[in-house]
Amino acid sequence: MLADMGQQVPIVDYLVLDDGAPYLNANVCDECGALFLDRRNACGKCGKTAFGKKRLADTGTLKSFTIVHRAAPTVPVPYVSAVIHLDGGGSVHTNLVNVEPDPEHVQLNMPVRMTTYTAGVDVDGTEAVAFGFEPAEGKA
C-alpha cells in the first residue's frame, strides 16, 4: 500500500504539474481565442471545433468572493470561494487561501497569486494537488 507513496496528480486536468512551477493550461479556440478549462466539443463563443493550449498567468485580481459558512459535512468551513481574473486573460473559480476568512481581510480587487497544496491522499498514497490563490502583498 505504501509502494506508490509520494506520487502526485493534479486535482483537475487543467492544472499542470511538471518539472517547473505548476500552472493552469486552458483550451484556446483557434478561431476566436475564447478560453475554456473544461473538455470541449466546440467553442461556446464561435462554434468552431479546433483548439490549442494556452498557459495562463499565475497572478491576477480578486473580482468576487463569498465566505462559505454552511457546507456539506465533509467540507471544512469557513472558507473563501473566489473569482479571479488572471493577468493576460482568462479567469478561474477556486478558494482564496492563506488569508483570514473574514470580510476585513478579503478585499475586492486585491492582487492575488497562485499557490498549490495537497488537498487529499488516496488509498495508494497518491496525493491530489489543488491550486488556490493567496493575497499577493507588495505586487504593483
Partner: protein, 398 residues
C-alpha cells in the same frame, strides 16, 4: 404581427408546507381555481403546459386525469427556477402561433423540507482517477470554490460590488429587511414576520454576505393562469373582459458567451437582454412601472437586477436601495409580495406566481398589499444555467 394575448384567470396557493397534499393536489386545485377565476372550464382549453422541476414526468397528463381528460396537447416543462415562466410562455407561444385560442399554464412544486445542503458533484472514491469534464480526481466543491447556490449568488452580488461604489453588506441586508416587511401584508406568503436590521445581520451566516434571512426557503406551492387570444377575449363575458390583464411582452433568453461566464455564472447579460427586448416589445419605459416582481432567490441577486432591469441609474443599485426606491411606497416597488426571500420559492411555481402577483395588483384585488392605481408591472425569473423570462403586464380596456 401575431394577436395579443391576455390573462383572464389567475390563482395561487399559499406558499409553504403542504404535508396534507401531494403535487397532484396542489396542481389540480390551483388549476380549477384559475379556471373558475376566468369564468372558464377545462373544456374551453386547447392547450396546457405544466412546469414542475422535480416531478415532471407526465405530471400535466396526471392533472388532466383529475380535472378533465379532453385530449388537448400537454407540455411538461422544466427550466430550473424559470420552469413556471417557461410553462406560461409555452401557452403564450401556442396561442401566438395560432394553434390555440385559450390555454392553461400551471407551475407547481412540492419540495417539502429537504436537507439544506445537497450533495454536490460526484462522491468521494478510494482511488484518484480523473473523471468528468475537468478530469477531477476528487470532489472539488469547497476546494475549487463553491457551486452551492447561496455562494454562487453571493459572488454575483460581490462582483457588482467590485465594480460599483456604495454596495456592501448593509445594502444586501436592507433588501432582505424590505422583502420580509412586504411579506407581512401577503396572506399567501410562506413567512410573514418582520425582522430588524440587527436580526438579519445576526442570523446564521450561510455564504457571506448572505445570512439565513437573506436566502429564500424551500417550500410547496402552485400557481396557474388562464391565457387567451385577444380575438377570443372579445367574445367573452363583459365581467371576464373587465378583469383581463394584457401580456404586453413575453421574452425568454439564455446566457450568451461572455468572458469568465464559465467560472462565474453570468446572471446579468441575459437579464439585460430579456428586459431590453421586453421594453421594446411593449413600448413600456422602465420608469413607467408601477411594480416589479424579480428573482430575489438571495438578497445579493435582487440588488444586481435593479440595474439589469434598468430600474436604477447604471451602477446605481446601491443608491437605489439606500434611497428606498424599491420599497412599496418608493419610486418602483419591488417584490411587494415578499419576494422569494419571504413569500417562498417552490421552484416550478415561482415563475407563474409572480405573474399572478402582478396581475392581481393590476386588477386592484391585492387587498392589504395593493399598490394603488397600478397599471403596468414587470415579472422576472432566472433559472441558473441560465434561463431568464421577463413578462410585462398592463391593465387596459379591450
Amino acid at each position: 404581427m401575431a394577436d395579443n394575448v391576455w390573462i383572464i384567470g389567475a390563482a395561487m396557493t399559499k406558499f409553504g408546507r403542504h404535508p396534507d397534499k401531494d403535487v397532484l393536489d396542489l396542481g389540480s386545485d390551483v388549476a380549477l381555481e384559475a379556471l373558475a377565476d376566468g369564468g372558464a372550464t377545462i373544456h374551453d382549453m386547447n392547450v396546457m403546459a405544466v412546469g414542475c422541476q422535480f416531478e415532471p414526468f407526465t405530471l400535466g397528463q396526471k392533472i388532466q386525469k383529475q380535472i378533465g381528460q379532453t385530449g388537448i396537447p400537454v407540455y411538461n416543462v422544466t427550466n430550473a427556477c424559470a420552469t413556471g415562466a417557461s410553462a406560461v410562455r409555452t401557452v403564450i407561444m401556442s396561442i401566438k402561433a395560432g394553434e390555440a385560442d385559450m390555454g392553461l399554464a400551471i407551475g407547481v412544486e412540492q419540495m417539502g423540507k429537504p436537507g439544506f445542503i445537497p450533495q454536490m458533484g460526484r462522491p468521494r472514491r478510494d482511488k484518484f482517477e480523473p473523471d468528468g469534464r475537468f478530469g477531477e480526481v476528487m470532489p472539488i466543491e469547497g476546494v475549487l470554490g463553491t457551486d452551492f447556490m447561496a455562494g454562487v449568488f453571493a459572488e454575483a452580488g460581490m462582483a457588482y460590488a467590485a465594480e460599483h461604489d456604495g454596495v456592501g453588506f448593509d445594502q444586501f441586508v436592507k433588501i432582505a429587511e424590505k422583502n420580509h416587511l412586504h411579506s407581512s401584508l401577503n396572506p399567501l406568503a410562506q413567512y410573514r414576520k418582520v425582522f430588524s436590521t440587527e436580526e438579519i445581520k445576526a442570523s446564521p451566516m450561510q455564504a457571506y454576505p448572505n445570512t439565513l434571512l437573506m436566502c429564500c426557503p424551500t417550500g410547496d406551492g402552485a400557481s396557474a393562469l388562464v391565457i387567451v387570444s385577444e380575438k377570443k377575449l372579445k367574445t367573452l363575458d363583459p365581467d371576464v373582459r373587465k378583469r383581463a390583464v394584457k401580456i404586453s411582452a413575453s421574452v425568454m433568453t439564455s446566457d450568451p458567451w461572455v468572458e469568465g461566464g464559465q467560472v462565474q455564472p453570468d446572471v446579468n447579460t441575459l437579464t439585460r437582454n430579456a428586459a431590453d427586448q421586453a421594453y421594446e416589445q411593449s413600448g413600456v419605459d422602465p420608469q413607467d412601472l408601477d411594480l416589479v416582481e424579480l428573482h430575489d432567490c438571495f438578497a445579493t441577486a435582487e440588488l444586481v437586477h435593479y440595474d439589469n432591469l434598468r430600474l436604477c441609474e447604471p451602477g446605481g443599485a446601491g443608491a437605489f436601495i439606500d434611497s428606498g426606491g424599491p420599497m412599496r411606497d418608493g419610486k418602483i416597488p419591488v417584490n411587494v409580495s415578499g419576494g422569494l426571500i419571504s413569500k417562498g420559492h417552490p421552484i416550478g411555481a415561482t415563475g407563474a406566481a409572480n405573474i399572478y402577483e402582478v396581475a392581481t395588483h393590476l386588477r386592484g384585488e391585492a387587498g392589504d398589499r395593493q399598490i394603488e392605481g397600478a397599471k403596468v408591472g414587470l415579472t422576472h425569473v432566472i433559472g441558473l444555467g441560465s434561463a431568464c423570462a421577463v413578462h410585462i403586464l398592463e391593465k387596459q380596456a379591450v
